[in-house]
Amino acid sequence: MWTFLATEILLFGGLFAAYAEYRSLFHEAFLLGARHLDAIMAAVETVVLITGSFAVVMALYYAKSSRAGMARLCLLAAAATGFVFLALHGVEYFHHFKEGALPGKYYSFAELRVTGISLFFALYFLMTGLHSLHVLVGAGVLVWLARRALSGEFSGQHYHPVELGGLYWHLVDLIWIFLFPLLYLV
């Protein structure tokens, strides 16, 4: 599984490299763009995802001690945090759509006009969009695991699916831990 996680790190890595280049070129646009984004909302989203990670850790603990009911609850809670995250993010996106802060040639936000700003939003939408896609997949995996947990499948000897699903979820959290400051805070 860790090998697979390595591939995901490199997948996002390309976008981080692009971010680094364009931030270097259009420093002001990135500063102003970041200030325009809703950092408080993003902080809440961060808390939500970290809570999801905690829930997944507890789910693994319960799975190993064969407590199917609690494991299932934790898995569903974690999946729920994923959906909450997506909802909050959706609100953010909607807001950007309304004001016209869109990537590339669709950029029409009159109040923020700085060279390179459309590129900032292009990166913003690409990075958070790709991340959100992974959140969706991760939440789906957690729901599926919750169903399996209900049937009492997991125990101290057989808990690996929960561990693997958990690792994937933690990765999704990790990527956001970096996206949050890079896009919203600095």
């Binding site: 390309g14 692009a18 280049e21 070129l25 590339g104 040639k105 292009a122």
Partner: protein
Amino acid sequence: MSPSAAEAIFPEHHYLNAGTTARSWLLTTDHKRIGLMYMIAVLVSLLLGGIFALLLRFEHLTPGPTYIDAITYNRLFTLHGVIMVWFFLIPSIPSIFGNFFIPIMVGAKDVAFPRLNLASFYIYMFGAAFTLWGMIHGGADTGWTFYTPYSTTTTTVVIPILLGIFILGFSTILTGINFIVTIHTMRGPGLTWMRLPLFVWAIYGTSIIQVLATPVLGLTLLLIAVEHAFGFGLFDPARGGDPILFQHLFWFYSHPAVYIMILPAMGVISETVSAAARKNIFGYRAVAYSSLGIAFVGFFTWGHHMFVAGQSVFDAGAFGVLSMFVGIFTSIKVFTWVGTLYRGAIRFTTPFAYICGFLYFLVFGGMTGIAVATVSLDVHWHDTYFVVAHFHFIMVGAALMGFLAALHYWFPKMFGRLYHEGWGLVAATLIILGFNATFIPQFLLGNMGMPRRYYNYPERFQTLHVASTAGSTLLFFGFVIIFIYLALALKYGRVAGRNPWGSRGFEWDTPSPPPTHNFEQLPVFTHGPHEYQEVPEVSRVA
């Protein structure tokens, strides 16, 4: 190595006849059957890519239009590149021979994730379907490298082809993960890392590259598609985008990708060289570690494809120097192989012919690689036929020789029959001669200034172009002959027996063809796979 005529029995039950329904093949989890299915798919890709190559070469018989127009020419070289790189070379040795032999070589019954293995195959076919669809609708004309901003603005069907390759990337990644886990965790009793066959080391290194590099390709192709469809401006200078960023991202994958293509071939040569010379491999650790060395160092060099693209002088200089390091590991291997052959008891068989071809092509292709890695020289040679000849020397000359060596060396093991050696040598000669005739003129052309991917050319280049095309026809005939005698051998070949080459490789301890679960009983490993004689301490050269 000589095919032994003693006790050649054809086992009654083996993986080929264990279940004969279509379902037992299409839903198999047997790594050997999956390897064969890949073989068919990969050989079809080779045929398709090869036909496109011939079409290109025939167009170049005369300057100006010969029988196709310029746009068709552009589409043909794009498709030739896409198919050969992604559908033939990258999967060729790992997905066929890696799948077939890695479990046997480590003493396991199958790979770590057999169903994932089958999924990898179907993902490959799915990706191939998309690309085929794109081809039927005219194909892209961007070149296999999809440089922006042309690829993001062209009206040709770029997106299905991008999608096809993107999907194929998943197949590569899953295969890589499968091999890494298998090699790490499923080695039989007594099989330490330092007793692994060198082929396994090579595939291990290849899998590392596959796992680390392919995601970046996936992202890059996705970005082109998004840019093409939505105009986000990521690579569009008018919006602040940087086309060179695309090249950085693309080559970060594609340079290691060429090592995905050559490393397995090197692994095959390591296997066949000690079997051919019936001698201990000259420096086992050197070869094993250099496989990893190439896998890692290959990632540091991508900017040498961009010397004249507009990247900074600092980057260009750094990449030029870093590119030299790969040569070190390759030469370690070449010296080791030659050291193995020296004073060996060599029988000149078809695999050995391919070994010879491989060594020659690797050394010359590799040296021209070091040459083009020199920034000042590359300024003259970049985007000329010199570069084309360089990479074809390595990819076709060396990697394809490795593939053919693997095919011939392991044919008796996979099918239990021997092919006709005489015809094998004829075909090998044709291929080696044909290859030289095709690509040496291209070095000269490139040096004289003939640009690559150009439809027209000045009259004075025509002689060399005609020579190159003649060579390619010879190459083609060589392949036709191989196909014929191998197909005939499947049914009419002499029974091979367990170990016709007298090799000490682990895969030769099991019957030919192997039973479905690879062994009659799981092996315990007590010797190395390349050990042909005891090495007494006294005879070590100081």
